[in-house]
């Protein structure tokens, strides 16, 4: 269906974008790219990046679903981590300027793309999968709606990395402190009535770094684009560790 597209008024926005290609650049630099955006409707930061890339095709960033569910385009938007695809330009732009940097604390591969290896390695350490020991029934394992409700606020994690890369404890010890995303996943399985490995999961967290490096700064909570609460998950694990009988 074709439809008449009204000619929109445009205004300029200056994007200041972190650029670095290790094979070409000696060191990172900030590049200003001026884009023209419509005045009569809001666009997302990701749309603004597309406009910048039309001018500068070498500009690199990850993206996939463009609707906030795949977790590809986590980045630092005017100083705060978030998903470019669900952050409206009107909220992000300050004094007509938009500064984009890669998520902090992880090595930069190129431009806005970070090396997520440490993040994924920590996730794998919590065995992020259901562990059962009893035989599977013919049909489903039953779970009451109340038991299932325990997983709300946990299973929705999209592994974007916004939380862990805004966490000072993760910056200091990215190899030893598991970080908010991995710990949220740990709790997601401990909290699952079907999981049969709670004790092993808790044992694996009982050292001074894995969990206890969380100091309740709560940056994770304030940046999570899905509105999840890793700090609460961490405190739930703590309580479980403290109260369990050995």
């Amino acid at each position: 269906m074709s439809q008449a597209i009204p000619v929109a008024q445009l205004k300029s926005v200056t994007m200041s974008i972190y650029r670095y290609d290790p094979t070409l650049d000696e060191k990172p630099y900030m590049q200003d790219i001026v884009i023209e955006v419509p005045t009569d409707k809001d666009i997302m930061v990701l749309d603004a990046l597309h406009l910048a890339k039309d001018q500068e095709p070498s500009l690199s960033y990850r993206r996939s679903c463009r609707e906030g569910v795949c977790g590809s385009d986590g980045m630092n938007i005017n100083g705060k981590n978030g998903l470019a695809c669900v952050t409206p330009l009107s909220e992000a732009v300050k004094r007509n300027k938009l500064t984009l940097r890669p998520m902090p604390g992880l090595p930069v591969v190129r431009d806005l793309i970070v090396d997520m290896k440490q993040f994924y390695d920590q996730l794998e350490k919590v065995k992020p999968y259901l562990i059962t020991k009893s035989d599977n029934p013919e049909t489903e394992r039953t779970q009451s709606p109340e038991e299932r409700e325990e997983l709300d606020g946990l299973y929705e994690c999209i592994l974007c990395g916004c939380c862990s890369t805004s966490c000072p404890s993760f910056w200091w010890n990215p190899d030893k402190f598991l970080g908010p995303a991995a710990l949220l996943q740990s709790w997601r399985f401990i909290a699952d009535s079907r999981d049969e490995a709670t004790e092993e999961r808790l044992d694996a967290l009982e050292d001074s770094f894995s969990l206890y490096r969380c100091h309740g700064i709560m940056n994770c909570v304030s940046v999570c684009p899905k509105g999840l609460n890793p700090t609460e998950a961490i405190s739930n694990i703590r309580n479980k560790l403290i109260t369990r009988e050995k």
């Binding site: 094979t23 609707e67 779970q143 929705e156």
Partner: protein, 597 residues
């Protein structure tokens, strides 16, 4: 060796696996799980980290007769609905297999940990979806779609990733597969792929190659599909001389958010939502008196498009339809549909518990694809005869097995991808047990798969990707949408043929080997173009209206001439016909009837 060098087959490093899966979405990871659990050396090659694959965006659920909501539900009723939904060109043996094996595949997902919503009895929650019936269409609306709130795809994809981690699958994440390597016998012996981060390039050899690259909705300007849905597997297959089937059949989902294209699940209407035109009329009562808003998607999308064309659209430009949910109450909206609440607020600025969502039919799903049998083996057609391609499999949206025919029912895509990802895995596992040799390819064979890369590297002038993509997307949107007419299709085909040369000779300005997204987008554009041209030529060839394919010069279904699959090869751009399978194994075939809802 790096992707930005002059690449030659002689110096190309090699990796070897028993099985490789190209694509880390639901179908790919279900296949890889089967292989990894059977101890085979398995690798998933995915251009994104697997949980970024487009399966993640599926919302409403996975349709399957698991007898939770209705203990008397029957997979045969599901089969009947699916055959009818396909407008009778779905293969009945494949539909029978999907519907009857489905419960096993769904319960396996639950055992892996998929956090399904639950009933009071603790069973998997099911909701009504479009095109569902009890008792072969005679017993009213069925309730058959298994759901994890409205985040079923997310839950399914993450669960499969988790299960693969547990099983020890090798993941080549953020690797891009360029083309398949075929030897002179026509057997597929692996792929050329490179690591996006560093540009290191390899010939990845395997005994079995599974294409699970998903859809290609990005051929259209407005689509629910992720930006990564570029039909890579279709491009690879067509370039390798294999056909695609029923590729003219594109589903337009009734409810994409107006302006943004993001999906709003059919589950909204399943939970009791309905569509309104500008007069506040529930117009679906006129078009589908029985099923109303839960008629199948092609029917609802066409009705909406007609309402808009006839001036009854909503908004200042009368260019959309309202989806009303507020009467369900905030409890249902927020509990059953939390994801679409979030999406509506973000992309339409409305809270669906209070205001209606502005929606419009939006390109959503590719019913056609690479023809396969129910074991996932890719089929080519030689002298009118089906022939299995040695070493190659396909599953999920890239494949056309065909369970969706001319129109897919909601909730059947997730079932398709787990059932046939699993089936391909099972078949490969069995054949490996009987012994499959790693086949050889010559340097010449490998060089062919390197052509595209070397050409891009050598480019010093030509068009930019973004301009070509926009031209193609507008063309497809305007000329191959919900309603199709001969003149516009011919115009569209002409424009595509003018663009082809430019697409094959694009200019890649950025030659860096490090995470070069410009190179990826150029390679993807060439794949998209293959899909677009196949769609255009085939659409113009199918001289009838069936399922999602609706044209004004041939407004009726023509069973005499077109109760057939279309088959398209890119080499000569010719369209031929292939028989639809009407030979289910355990039930009588369902014969074509007038399709009304």
């Amino acid at each position: 060796m790096l992707v930005n060098e002059v690449i030659n087959a002689k110096d190309l490093p090699v990796m070897e696996f028993d099985g490789i899966i190209v694509g880390g979405g639901g179908a790919g990871m279900r296949a890889s799980l089967q292989l990894a659990e059977s101890g085979l050396n398995t690798a998933v090659i995915s251009k994104v980290f697997p949980t970024r694959s487009h399966t993640v965006s599926a919302q409403g659920g996975i349709t399957c007769a698991i007898q939770s909501d209705d203990p008397d539900d029957d997979w045969r009723w599901h089969m009947f609905d699916t055959v009818k939904g396909s407008d009778y060109i779905g293969d009945q043996e494949a539909i029978e297999y999907m519907c009857s094996e489905g419960p096993k595949a769904v319960f396996e997902l639950e055992h892996m940990g998929l956090p399904f919503s639950r009933t009071e009895e603790g069973r998997i929650y099911q909701r009504p979806f479009g095109g569902q019936s009890k008792d072969y269409g005679k017993g009213g609306q069925a309730t058959r779609t298994c759901a994890a709130a409205d985040r079923t795809g997310h839950s399914l994809l993450h669960t499969l990733y988790q299960a693969n981690l547990k099983a020890g699958t090798n993941f080549l994440n953020e690797w891009f597969a360029v083309d398949m390597v075929l030897n002179t016998d026509g057997a597929v012996v692996g792929v050329i792929a490179f690591k996006i981060e560093t540009g290191e390039i390899y010939y990845i050899k395997s005994k079995a190659t599974v294409l699970a690259t998903g859809g290609a909705g990005r051929i259209y300007a407005s689509t629910t599909n992720a930006l990564i849905n570029s039909g890579d597997g279709i491009g690879m297959a067509l370039r390798a001389g294999m056909p695609v089937q029923d590729i003219e059949m594109w589903q337009f989902h009734p409810t994409g958010i107006h302006g943004a294209g993001t999906l709003v699940t059919e589950g909204c209407r399943g939970e009791g939502g309905y569509l309104l035109n500008k007069d506040g009329e529930r117009f679906m009562e006129r078009y589908a008196p029985n099923a109303k808003d839960l008629a199948s998607r092609d029917v609802v999308a066409r009705s909406m498009a007609l309402e808009i064309l006839e001036g009854r659209g909503c908004g200042p430009n009368a260019d959309h339809i309202f989806l009303r949910l507020d009467h369900l109450g905030p409890e249902v909206v927020h509990k059953r549909l939390p994801g679409i609440t979030e999406l509506s607020k973000t992309f339409a600025g409305v809270d669906p518990a209070v205001q209606p969502i502005p929606v419009v039919p939006t390109c959503h799903y590719m019913m056609g694809g690479i023809p396969t049998n129910i074991n996932g083996q890719v089929i080519t057609v030689q002298d009118g005869q089906d022939k299995v391609v040695d070493g190659l499999y396909a599953a999920g949206e890239v494949a056309c097995v065909s369970v969706h025919g001319g129109n897919r029912l909601g909730g059947n895509s997730l079932l398709d991808l787990v059932v046939f990802g699993r089936a391909a895995g099972i078949y490969i596992e069995e054949s490996m047990k009987q012994g499959v040799e790693l086949k050889k390819a010559s340097h010449e064979d490998i060089e062919k798969a390197l052509e595209r890369l070397n050409k891009l590297n050598a480019s010093s002038e030509g068009e930019q990707v973004s301009a070509l993509k926009e031209r193609m997307q507008q063309n497809m949107q305007n000329n191959f949408g919900v309603f199709r007419t001969k003149d516009l299709m011919e115009k569209g085909i002409e424009d595509l043929s003018q663009v082809r040369d430019e697409v094959e000779n694009m200019h890649l300005k950025d030659k860096s080997a490090t995470f070069n997204t410009a190179r990826i987008e150029a390679l993807e554009m060439q794949n998209l173009f293959e899909v677009a041209e196949a769609t255009a030529v085939t659409a113009n060839s199918r001289k009838e209206s069936r399922g999602a394919h609706s044209r004004d010069d041939y407004p009726d279904r023509d069973d005499e001439n077109w109760l057939k699959h279309s088959i398209y090869f890119s080499e000569n751009k010719e369209v031929s016909k292939r028989d639809v399978n009407y030979r289910p194994k355990t039930v009588q075939a369902f014969q074509p009837m007038v399709r009304s809802y």
